[in-house]
Symmetry: C2
Subunit: 369 residues, 2 copies
């Protein structure tokens, strides 16, 4: 696995059960997955030599993040190494502009969009769709980074200057009723399974809560599930893919893809028969996939984010007083705004389940006395 | 954790979630918990120096097995190290004769028993209770090792000779209707929680299946649960303790105690709100304990035991075709009769749930085409 963050850490937990040996390409020996005991190779995901060294040691290369040079993945494939998901599919998670173009060609509903490198192009888009214009760096952004809400020409100038000739993805400010997400797993053999639709609740442009099942009608949920399954097949993904969608007043549109285990699937560790992490391993190794049903009527995950109150580990006892709180700490040092862990609660009613998960997460964040 | 077998391996999985650093005292770098990435100190559980080295590095010492010299644990406690469970409680799992005497004094129902070092004492016991006489080595036995079914004086002579002056625990051949077990967790702060009663199905003197809940009446189940909870308090155990009981035509009697996570509790990983491994960590660290309710109406665990068919890992794909089969492989090399893993299935009806778990375990054992 390229990368050794919390996704690799939780993949390591799943790998232990299956008796699969997980080796991570880590930037530091204090990365979350290394602390969890995954076999470690130190190296940068930007180095083809480091990636090749990892590939030589493994049956299949997979990913904890999107930050790998796409050309390197193509090179590894050309050299005969197995990469899951394949480079061409992975690129849909690495380059937002490429993803919009490809999904649009496939007939998948996406926001109105345009590529821009000049002020004039942004102004033309604004003339057509109005200000504000949402501009996104096609590569490298996450958790709100690489996204700008342009109110006027002056702000557009700043962003074009900082993009230094690179393309920007433009889209109008959307009227979003709700954000939902679906995890889909596709194995190297072509088997595909889709998880229940969840609502993702954002705060400060970061996913803070995952509510399963999403409080949407069956028609909408079925549509999202079908879309995710078809998409995985059309792009030939392997492993787990998260499809993030916007529910707008008139339609369902795909916002982003993540071709790896994803925050919106953390609820599946306790909340589904097969966790997304075990499923990812099964899928990239060509093993049969597992059932994706919920294990409880309501499952809620709340992220634990760094605050000024310091390390959450010291408040573990307080969080564990919440009955049924499944605490996951990532072994990362605390920094305000950094994802440090999450809590999942399985319950019968969405309201109390969400309250319980929040209570435990709040305790870990030091927000409760 | 002293020992690095499968119990330590599964404790490591739980430790990752809680952000707890688990260090194991391992005899080899290929021990299951070391392969799973637990921090490793190499050393023997027979060496006080090795135990002391581990203790210096940890907040609390706990155990993957019973094979630690009791005197060493007392020495560590005298030196101020925290041992969970304490040496005096742990001894009840290490010495069967001591356990019988102690439980008997506490008024806990145990089989009729006697200690014997001579043929005459065995013959006297047989005169009173009839042949066969069951003789057990007070220390070191497990999975049927250290247990002899004496049919007559001749066999008694052999066992007395091999015991070389050591005491034997004698008991009559019991009329056992069913074997059941209860996991109880007691924290260093005195909080106690008890898990549901399970049936343990033995084959060749080894636990092969765990059926939760046990198919026994509520009266019997409640009695076992109360007994386990009271026992944990009376002996001052900390951590998880397994109480193994016999159901006989006229009463419920305690057979053995294990003061550590136990095979009869493996079902709890997916089958209870809090797994026995997470609970054990919470208990020995003095953290609040978690709920013990079942997550499904029927949960069955079937052990995967080594056969002539070699390593189970090569048959993982076949096992995973069973929907909902949670496979746990321990990373141990295969040897006929060796516990190599287990499979748990959560379902709605005991019959089909058991069949599914058996199907996956059979596949791993190479018993299906």
């Amino acid at each position: 696995m390229v990368g050794a963050g919390q996704l690799a850490r939780m993949t390591q937990q799943a790998a232990i059960g299956l008796g699969v040996e997980l080796t991570v390409l880590a930037e530091s020996e204090s990365d979350p997955a290394v602390l969890a005991g995954a076999r470690c190779r130190l190296g940068s995901p930007d180095s083809l030599e480091a990636l090749r060294g990892l590939a030589r040691q493994c049956d299949v290369i997979t990913f904890d993040h999107e930050g790998v040079e796409p050309g390197h993945l193509e090179a590894l494939q050309a050299e005969g190494f197995e990469v899951g998901p394949p480079a061409a599919a992975k690129l849909l998670a690495q380059d937002k502009l490429h993803a919009r173009r490809t999904l649009s060609e496939l007939g998948v509903p996406v926001p109105v969009f345009a590529a821009a490198t000049t002020i004039e192009e942004i102004e033309q888009f604004a003339a057509e769709h109005g200000w504000p214009v949402v501009a996104k760096a096609p590569r490298g952004g996450y958790d709100g980074r690489g996204v700008w809400m342009l109110q006027d020409r002056r702000q557009a100038v700043e962003v074009v200057d900082s993009a230094a000739g690179g393309s920007l993805l433009l889209e109008p400010m959307l009227d979003i009723e709700r954000e939902i997400a679906v995890i889909v797993a596709r194995s190297a053999s072509g088997e595909t399974v889709v998880y229940p639709v969840v609502e993702t609740v954002q705060r400060d442009a970061m996913c803070r809560e995952i509510i399963a099942p999403a409080p949407v009608g069956k028609g909408l949920a079925d549509k999202a599930i079908q879309l995710a399954g078809r998409l995985a097949e059309r792009i030939g993904s392997t492993g787990v893919m998260a499809v993030e969608l916007f529910v707008t007043p008139d339609r369902l549109i795909v916002n982003e893809l993540a071709l790896r285990p994803h925050n919106s699937g953390h609820y599946s560790i306790e909340g589904c028969v097969t966790s997304q992490f075990e499923q990812h391993l099964r899928a990239v190794l060509g093993l049969p996939l597992g059932p994706t049903e919920l294990t409880a009527p309501a499952v809620v995950t709340v992220n634990v984010v760094g605050t000024e109150a310091g390390e959450p580990s010291g408040r573990l006892a307080q969080a564990l007083t919440v009955p049924g709180a499944h605490v996951h700490l990532y072994g990362k040092s605390s920094r305000p705004g950094r994802k440090l862990g999450h809590v999942t609660v399985c319950g019968t009613e969405p309201g109390p389940t969400r309250e319980a998960a929040r209570a435990a997460a709040d305790a870990l964040e030091g927000l409760t006395p």
